[in-house]
Amino acid sequence: MTVQRPVYFDHQATTPLDPRARDAMRPFFEESFGNPHSAHHTLGRQAAEAVETSRRNIAALIGADPREIVFTSGATESNNLAIKGAARFVGNTRRHIVTVATEHKCVLESVRALEGEGFSTTLLPVLPNGLVDVAALAAALTDETMLVSVMGVNNEIGVIQPLEEIGQLCRARGVLFHSDCAQAAGKIPLDVDDMAIDLMSISAHKMYGPKGIGALYVRRRPRVRLEPLFSGGGQERGMRSGTLPAFLCVGFGAAAEIARQEMSDERVRLAELAEQFKVRLLAVPGASLNGDADKRWPGNLNVSFAGVDAEALLGALIDDVAAATGSACTSAAVEPSYVLNALGLDAELASSAIRLGLGRQTTSDDVEVAANAIVHAVDTLRAQAQDSAA
């Protein structure tokens, strides 16, 4: 078998650009360079038309109206805009926010920034399988709660949160519901109406689109209003000023359309590969899967190898497998993952975990190569540890 090494197993950090999305983008790098906000000439109108087609594709992916899609620079900006924007608009009337310990840093830090502005926060723990306890969430809501933020698919452990249940709960209590769906959009079916979601963050480069663009879904009925983060020309219905990068919008739209069409087949294919991978990895003594075994996106396996240092393991795998210890944003810091801590893993088991992300190009041969390399590396590291202890 011919497998190019290192094999890429870091699809939660980013996904490669789908060649079909790249081809759709190409003219907008080159001859169709117009500003989509220039309404007085053909180049501008061409760009605007392409941007609006993309907006429709993105809306279709999540069951939204195109007018509910606001382009941003990525999920970090979308999460900031959703949380800070909604809180600052509602202002003095209700000042309590509920979120979860395993959310992405940009959600946790946005909420923390609002604490500095006088908002109070409840940071919910998760169950040992990584899922939110919906009863605990219900109990945390008060008459002061204005926003609940719970992600769709966790970036480190891949678990899928019960969005529909949480959404209906929030709707019944008159609380806005935001979901960071950076890892969920284009992977699992999402419907903003069925899930009663008011605000949803999406990123293009997690679904085989280009880096540097994302979107925020903002519900129109009943209208959700946000205080913008930046001042400017009032583009994107006043919520996000700045010239739209037409080529990135087009790549994002193409990626969304591909994902919408291929999502269900891809999920089945990845589930088979993940099963093949899991069987091999969990056969290693002292190996355990982190996060719920069933309620998870199959393109993620987060596995602890007891007694093995994950940093050393990735070092040993450097020529064979590209993977991660946790989210890439925090991987510069050598500290155990706060997500794994929230599951109740002790520091040692948390620091022995690696995250393996499978994706569109992953093949069964890739899984075999990676599994062989990991099993071998774990054995070698354990043998070395025994030798040095002897």
């Binding site: 009337t93 009943p222 209208r223 209003r225 006043g238």
Partner: protein
């Protein structure tokens, strides 16, 4: 006789008589409160009759239409209880209504 109050941008309160069936915009104009401009003559194209309704009264109104929400998106100084004066029809149940007049206007017709 029913009344309603406009709280002006400088904080002064103008209590005026109001007739059921009139819009808030029409009531303002009848009393010379020209801060509510009504540039589009109530066809929801300008947002210049934007008012901020006192919280306790806000819940007594029917939900805004999608078109009214769209126009409110352009309003200057938008707040949680913002409405367009041309879309709220005064009724006996609204006797005593209080609305705040924003300090500026944005005429979407001129965009």
């Amino acid at each position: 006789m029913a009344v309603m109050t406009f709280v002006m941008p400088d904080g002064t309160r103008r209590e005026v008589d109001a007739t059921p069936g009139e819009s808030i915009l029409a009531i303002a104009q009848r009393h010379g409160i020209n801060e509510l401009e009504g540039a589009c003559e109530s066809c929801m194209a300008c947002s210049t009759c934007h008012v901020v309704v006192e919280k306790d009264w806000f819940a007594k109104f029917p939900e805004p239409s999608e078109e009214e929400d769209d126009m409110l998106d352009f309003a200057y100084g938008l707040a949680l209880t913002s409405r367009l004066g041309c879309q709220i029809i005064f009724t006996v149940a609204l006797d005593g209504l209080v609305v705040r007049v924003p300090s500026d206007r944005h005429n979407a017709l001129l965009d």
